[in-house]
Symmetry: C2
Subunit: 430 residues, 2 copies
C-alpha cells in the first residue's frame, strides 16, 4: 500500500468542489487520521473554466471522466456527476473493471444499478462506498453496515429529502399552500427548477431502497418502492393535523414482515410527541429499529456542500485505511430477494378529509360505506355547520387494510354530496 | 488471517452474557457481514456456577482473566469486568502486551488509563476498541472516528447517563423530589444501591473525557473534567425551568477555544424547543458540531444488555474485518494536550433561585451585589408576595463569568434576608 492515496474526481459541482476543499484545508488532520496522505491528482468535469472557488492548476484535467478509471495516477475514483445513467454509470463501471475503488454520492445510480455494481465491486475486490448517497452528511450507511452490524433490523424509516421537509415546515409555519411555498423554495435555491424528483418522492425512494438493502441484507429493489409525493398536501390538512396532535412529514419507510418487504414513500401524520415530528427545515433524520440496540435515531444535514463532501471524504478515508466491506453489508450472493408487499396489503390507520355538502343523510351515507368496507372510525371532526353549503369532514380510522380504504374512498367520492376528491394521509405510529 | 476469530471474554455479567447470546444467536449473520466466523472459545468470571441463561459448556473456563491474554485459543480479548483498576486493567494490559486486540465496555478504565493503553495498543499494532464505553448502544465513537472523520469538531455534548436522565424525567413528570425518585429508581434497578457514580456525574465525566478525546484529537484528560451531579436539583427548580421554557438535563459538554479545552459535567437548563430537551428516561443522546457536516445528533439506548452488547460485538466485527485505527482516531503521538479551561473562566447564562424574606430592601441588596460583580440580570420571577415571610426569587442572567457568578452567590448568601444557600443552574443555549 503506497503511502499516498491518489484520488480522481469525476464532477466538479458543489459536492466535487467541497471534496477538493476538505482534502486541501484538512490535509494534515486527514493524513493523521488515516495514516496516509490523501491527494487529488486528476479531475474531470464538463466546463473547465467555470468558477468554483478552487485551484485546479495542480490537477490533471480529463475531458472524459471514464478515463479516470485507467489513469495511472488515480487509485480511487470519486463519482459526483449525478444521474443514474450516462457518464456517471460509465465512470463507475469502468473504475470497478479497472480494479479501482469507487466513492459515489449518487443515489439514483446506486438505487437503480447498486445490485450489479456491488456484485462487480466485490468480485474485483474493490470498495464501492456511497455514504453521501443517503441523507447527505449523516453517516447512516456506516451506522447500519458497521456500528449496528450486530443487530437484525426489521424497520428503518426517516425524513430523507430536505426540500420536502423544508416545504412542509414552511407550510405549517406560515399557513400557506404548497405551490406558494414551492415557488419560494425555488427562489431560495432549496428546490430545483424542475422539482419532480424531490416533491414527487422519487429522491426519497432512491434513498429508501438503499437504506433497506443495507439494513436488512436485501437486494436493492428500487422498482418495488411505493411512491407518493407531497403535491396533494394542503394547508388545511396541515392545520387539521396540528389540531389532532400530529405533524405531516414525507417519510420513507421500510419494514420486514415474515420474508416480505414493505418499502413505501408517502406523506405521514406523525405524533407531535415524537422526535421525528420535530425534525424541521432541510434537516434529515433516520430511525433504525434493531433487535439488540433498540431504537437509534440520527439527525443531521441531508444536503449541501459541506455535509455531502464530509461523507464523501469519510468514504475515501475508509479506503485509505484499507477497510473493505461488501457494499451492502452482506456479500452480494447472500443478499436476500424479499417478496415485495403490495401497498394494498398495507395495514394502518388513516386520516381522511372530505369536502361535503352539509345536508341530512351525508354522514349516514359515508359511515355506511366505511362499515361495509370494514373500516372502523376512531374519530370525526366537522368544522362548523353550514346547512346546504360545503364543509370539511375529517375522519381518523382505526387500523384498516389499504385495499379496503381505497375502495371506500372511491365509493365515497361517487356520493352526490361529496364535492371534491377525498384526501387521505397515512398515520405513522412509532 | 485465520477464517475463525477466536474470542475470550473476561467478565460474564449482563454485558458479557449479552455478547455470548448475540454471537450464538446471530452466528450466520455476523459471519456473512464480516466474512469470518466469530467463536467464543474462553471465558473468565468470578463465579462459574452463577445463573446467566447461557451455556458455558463449550467454552474453556479460566479462573484468572489475565490468562486470556496468553491463551492460545484466543485472538481477541473482550473485557467486560468493569472498574478502572484491578483485574480489568490487568487483563487489558496483558492482552496488549501479548499482541492481542482488545474490546472493552469499560469507561472508567479508558477515561483513566486510555492514553497509556492507547499508546501501548498502537505500538503493538493491535486494536483497542471501546464503543460500548460511551453511550451504550449508540455507535458514537465510530461516528466520530470514522463517519465524521473529515470534520474538525469544536463542540460535543450530550446526555450520557440514563440513570440521571430517568430521575430528572420522573421528577418533572411527577413533581416529586430527588431522594424520592432515586429510591424508586433503585427499587426498579435503574439506579445502583450506591448511586454515587451516576448521580454525582462521575460516570458522565468518564464518558465525556473519552468523547472529547476522539472528537478533538486530544489526549484523554479525565482529571480536568469539572463535575457536578444532580443531587441539588429540586422539584421547585424543575417547575421554574418549565415555566421559563426549559428542561433540566445533566449534560457532559466539551468545547475547544483557541487551544484550550473546556470539559464540564453539570445540570443544565436546555430550551424546550431543542431536540435534546425531549430525550427522556434512560435514553442517551450526543450532539456533535463539525465544521463540514454541521450539527449531527444521535439518540439511542445508553445502557442495558442488548444495546451494550450490540456495541461490543460491532467492535469485535471491526477486528474480524481487519479494521485497525488508532484508538482515539489520531495516532497517539499526534494527540494534542490542550490547556484545560478553568471552570471559573466559563462564561454563560445562569439561573439562580434564592429563598428570601419578603421585606423591603431585599431586592435592592441582591441587585446591588450582582451589579458590583458585573452580572447583568435578564429577568426576574418572584412567586407571590408574603410580607415578612419566605418567598422564592428566580433570576436569569445575561452572559456572565462563572467566577463573578460564584462571588455574587457568596455575597448574596451572606445577606440577612437570604435564608437558604442560593441554587444556581447553568443555561445551555444551543
Amino acid at each position: 500500500m503506497s503511502l499516498t492515496l491518489k484520488i480522481g474526481i469525476a464532477g466538479l459541482g458543489t459536492v466535487g468542489a467541497g471534496v477538493v476543499k476538505i482534502i486541501d484545508q484538512h490535509a494534515a488532520m486527514l493524513s493523521a487520521r488515516c495514516g496516509r496522505d490523501l491527494v487529488v491528482t486528476s479531475v474531470s468535469a464538463r466546463d473547465r473554466g467555470k468558477k468554483r472557488g478552487i485551484d485546479l492548476s495542480n490537477f490533471a484535467w480529463l475531458d472524459d471522466p471514464a478515463k479516470l478509471a485507467t489513469a495511472t495516477n488515480v487509485d480511487v475514483v470519486v463519482e459526483v456527476i449525478g444521474g443514474s445513467e450516462g457518464p456517471a454509470l460509465d465512470v463507475v463501471t469502468a473504475a470497478i473493471a479497472a480494479g479501482k475503488s469507487v466513492v459515489t454520492a449518487n443515489k439514483a445510480l446506486i438505487a437503480r444499478h447498486g445490485a450489479a455494481l456491488g456484485t462487480a465491486a466485490e468480485a474485483a475486490g474493490v470498495a464501492l462506498n456511497f455514504e453521501a448517497a443517503v441523507a447527505g452528511g449523516i453517516p447512516v450507511i456506516k451506522l447500519l453496515r458497521e456500528g449496528l452490524a450486530a443487530n437484525a433490523n426489521d424497520h428503518v424509516f426517516g425524513i430523507l429529502n430536505g426540500t420536502c421537509n423544508y416545504i412542509l415546515t414552511e407550510m405549517e409555519k406560515t399557513g400557506r399552500d404548497f405551490n406558494d411555498v414551492l415557488a419560494d423554495a425555488q427562489a431560495l435555491g432549496y428546490a430545483e427548477a424542475d422539482p419532480t424528483f424531490d416533491v414527487d418522492g422519487i429522491d426519497t425512494a432512491h434513498k429508501l431502497a438503499i437504506l433497506a438493502s443495507v439494513a436488512f441484507g436485501a437486494v436493492v429493489d428500487f422498482k418495488s418502492v411505493y411512491t407518493e409525493g407531497i403535491r396533494q398536501i394542503s394547508a388545511e390538512d396541515i392545520q387539521f393535523a396540528a389540531e389532532l396532535g400530529y405533524r405531516i412529514k414525507l417519510l420513507g419507510i421500510a419494514r420486514l414482515y415474515n420474508g416480505a418487504i414493505e418499502q413505501r414513500v408517502h406523506p405521514c401524520m406523525v405524533p407531535l410527541d415524537t422526535a421525528i415530528a420535530h425534525v424541521d427545515g432541510v434537516t434529515n433524520a433516520v430511525v433504525i429499529e434493531g433487535d439488540r440496540a433498540g431504537r437509534t435515531v440520527i439527525e443531521g444535514q441531508g444536503a449541501g456542500e459541506g455535509p455531502t463532501a464530509s461523507s464523501v471524504v469519510a468514504d475515501i478515508m475508509d479506503i485509505a485505511r484499507g477497510v473493505l466491506s461488501p457494499p451492502f453489508g452482506h456479500p452480494s450472493d447472500q443478499l436476500h430477494l424479499f417478496r415485495p408487499l403490495e401497498q394494498d396489503n398495507h395495514e394502518g390507520r388513516y386520516y381522511i378529509r372530505l369536502e361535503v355538502l352539509d345536508q341530512s343523510g351525508v354522514m349516514a351515507d359515508i359511515t355506511a360505506v366505511l362499515r361495509d368496507q370494514e373500516v372502523s372510525v376512531a374519530s370525526f371532526i366537522q368544522r362548523g355547520r353550514a346547512p346546504g353549503e360545503q364543509v370539511s369532514v375529517v375522519i381518523l380510522t382505526h387500523t384498516a387494510g389499504e385495499g379496503c380504504m381505497k375502495q371506500s374512498l372511491e365509493l365515497i367520492e361517487s356520493l352526490d354530496s361529496v364535492v371534491e376528491p377525498p384526501r387521505m394521509i397515512r398515520i405513522k405510529h412509532l
